[in-house]
């Protein structure tokens, strides 16, 4: 699993520009499914055929990043976030464009206080001396991902884009483990989740699942003076009972709890007063889809150094592989 997540986070797949991530995931999924296709939004839909219930498992491929909106005379790039980038986390970070160009995020007038820090006062420096030089490497509309190198510390994995490549890794691992199953499973790797759950909406419409489980990361509360969130990295995958986008369907939640108990997987519960996942649009697709959210506890979400416990991911996969058989 460590090699898998390293490969997945290494790839640049910023919202709206997920092709490289999709290609990599398609390769990984090939041996375990009967059919793989993409749609107009770039979603990757992998089907393991079956005669029973149609179940959709979803994880988003996109990571937050930036998009260039303007190039000035001196070769500096103006940008805005693709997804919810945080200005504190962005200052002085390095970003990487697909052609390999690296840039550094700077701020007009060194901000004296936090309240002076504003996204529209920031720019990206790619070391070009003029607009002519800059446009040789980058154009308006190009997207870049944050640079956040991968590291392993025992069971803890650090990298950018664990939101939500860890969910993708869980789905791939689930596909590998599931084996014989009556039910039909759609492994859907969605796009543009960070821009507003956009890929999942048409994907769910096309798949028409009878039940869905969404795998994403969710904030852990196990760091110094963290807001009271009894979610700890290493205590198992968290069943997210609710967030701003959805309330997990009680019956699907029960399926996950009973399955976890049956096969002895540690699990915890998460209640989020903020945040959303693809479940928000999948659950209200067509006539409604009973949906639950499974979360990988994660620290420092949306920073270039997100952190998860690899065992939580492994356990999430075990849980899903068994749950889909009992649905």
């Amino acid at each position: 699993m460590i090699e898998l997540i390293r490969k997945l986070t290494d790839v640049n797949g910023v919202s709206g520009n997920e092709e490289a991530a999709a290609a990599l995931i398609a390769d990984e999924m090939k041996p375990y499914v009967d059919e793989i296709r993409t749609d107009t939004l770039g979603n990757l839909i992998c089907v393991k055929k079956g005669k029973g219930k149609r179940i959709m498992l979803a994880a988003h491929m996109d990571e937050i990043g930036i998009i260039v909106t303007h190039i000035d005379d001196k070769g500096f790039l103006r940008f805005t976030g693709l997804g919810g980038i945080n200005h504190f986390y962005s200052l002085y970070q390095k970003v990487a464009f697909t052609n390999g160009t690296i840039g550094v995020i700077g701020h007009e007038e060194e901000p004296g206080e936090l309240k002076d820090l504003m996204l529209d006062k920031m720019y990206i420096d790619i070391g070009a001396g003029s607009r002519e030089e800059a446009v040789k490497k980058v154009k308006v509309g190009d997207a870049a991902a944050f640079i956040g190198s991968f590291a392993v510390n025992g069971d803890m994995v650090v990298s950018k884009a664990l939101d939500d490549r860890s969910g993708c890794a869980v789905l791939i691992e689930t596909a590998r483990q599931v084996g014989d199953c009556e039910n039909e499973i759609y492994f859907v790797f969605t796009t543009q989740e960070e821009l507003g759950l956009r890929g999942a909406k048409p994907a769910a419409y096309a798949v028409e699942p009878e039940m869905a489980i969404v795998v994403d990361v969710s904030g852990a509360g196990d760091t110094p003076k963290a807001k009271t969130l009894p979610v700890k990295c290493g205590d198992g995958p968290a069943i997210k009972v609710m967030d701003k986008s959805a309330v997990s369907h009680p019956e699907v939640k029960q399926l996950l709890v009973e399955t976890a108990k049956k096969i002895g997987i540690p699990y915890q519960f998460k209640v989020a007063a903020a945040g959303g996942t693809d479940a928000g649009v999948i659950s209200v697709s067509r006539g409604g889809v009973p949906t639950a959210m499974l979360a990988i506890p994660c620290r420092y979400i949306h920073s270039p150094a997100e952190m998860v416990n690899i065992n939580d991911m492994a356990n999430a996969a075990k849980l899903l592989a068994e749950a889909v058989k009992n649905a």
Binding site: T228, L229, V241, F269, A273, G287, G288
Partner: protein, 348 residues
């Protein structure tokens, strides 16, 4: 009306967990409907077929949401105090000293704690209240709670029904059990006056968290037209008169882009013809009700919205006039009477 409303408001229906009252609603619908079903997200759908032929088998969806604002256990601390998150829009200022029920393995009673006045500094009193600093005290220790309550359990307010002067009543969740009660009233009246169109009444779910039940039920039912019943803001001192509606002076009929202009006009016409008082609710966009979701389902559904004035929305002392709910039931019964014919006339 009063009895049904009292019973309805007594039930707990947190968004996503409306299963707790779908049985009761199903039973109520069954008294008047030919068919009752509960869908995947717990919307309760009752179909009452036309009892006067126009023969075209059109459907009017009548929707009222049954979920209520609630909370959810987000943590149980080492001493057994319960932290919670809101499900739906809750003003934290109503929470101090509230009585709540936690729906765990058993119903557990708890109160939202509050510091005694002797110990609060003037500074603290001025600060805005934050939900994540509040907690519920059940009197039990963490160990005692372990087998009863867990993170993710829902919490609702305890029911206190108060009858005020002039036919006004006060309780939690009148938003929108009042609407549900009006739907039952409508079914009774429709039986009496007849209707040339199938009535599909829907007790929708998860309105408070994003009109979710309305989206999915409308998609499934594909009605020809829809009527939504919900609460609107009742008058109270300190609010501009054009933002609120008087209690006991009849329902508010909405106008604006969310409402089908001809059907809205027809509804007003019926009110005038039948001598039912009404007020006009000008909505310059999103009405914040199931109507917003239903109007754009599939090929679009011509929709009207009727609201009953309700004071102190989203508190445990919501207050309405029973008369307004009766007016709504009657108004809609007259509206639906020849609605099939009217739809033909408007080529809808």
């Amino acid at each position: 009306m009063k009895d049904i409303l009292k019973q309805l408001t007594g039930f707990s229906g947190p968004p996503g967990h409306e299963k707790m009252l779908t049985g009761f609603i199903s039973d109520l619908f069954s008294k008047y409907c030919d068919e009752v079903k509960i869908d995947k997200l717990y919307n309760v759908i009752g179909i009452k077929r036309a009892n006067r032929g126009s023969g075209t088998r059109r459907k009017v969806m009548v929707a009222a949401h049954i979920d209520e604002i609630s909370m959810m256990v987000s943590d149980v601390d080492e001493r057994g105090f319960i932290r919670f998150a809101p499900l739906g829009g809750i003003d934290p200022r109503i929470l101090l000293a509230q009585e709540t029920i936690i729906h765990g393995r058993k119903q557990v009673y708890g109160v939202v704690g509050t510091k005694p006045p002797h110990l609060i500094s003037d500074e603290e009193k001025k600060k805005p209240m934050e939900i994540d600093k509040l907690y519920i005290d059940t009197g039990m220790s963490r160990d005692q709670l372990a087998s009863l309550v867990e993170v993710g359990d829902t919490i609702t307010f305890k029911h206190h029904w108060t009858e005020l002067q002039n036919g006004l009543v006060s309780s939690k969740s009148l938003d929108n059990r009042g609407g549900a009660a009006a739907v039952i009233g409508l079914l009774q009246e429709a039986d009496r006056h007849g209707h040339d169109i199938d009535i599909v009444c829907v007790a929708t779910v998860q309105e408070e968290v994003g009109l979710r039940g309305a989206v999915t039920s409308a998609y499934g039912i594909q009605p020809d037209t829809a009527v939504v019943i919900d609460a609107c803001h009742g008058d109270m001192p300190g609010l501009d008169s054009d933002e609120v509606f008087k209690l006991g002076k009849g329902p508010a009929i909405a106008v604006g882009p969310n409402i089908h202009p001809q059907l809205g006009a027809y509804l007003k016409q019926i009110a005038v013809e039948q001598g039912i008082p009404y007020q006009v609710d000008v909505e310059a966009g999103n009405t914040g009700t199931d109507a917003w979701a239903i109007q754009v389902s599939r090929s679009g559904i011509p929709t009207v919205l009727v609201s009953f004035p309700l004071r102190y929305m989203h508190t445990t002392v919501e207050t309405v006039s029973l008369e307004d709910l009766d007016y709504i039931s009657k108004l809609l019964a007259y509206y639906i009477n020849n609605l099939g014919g009217k739809l033909e006339e408007l080529a809808l």
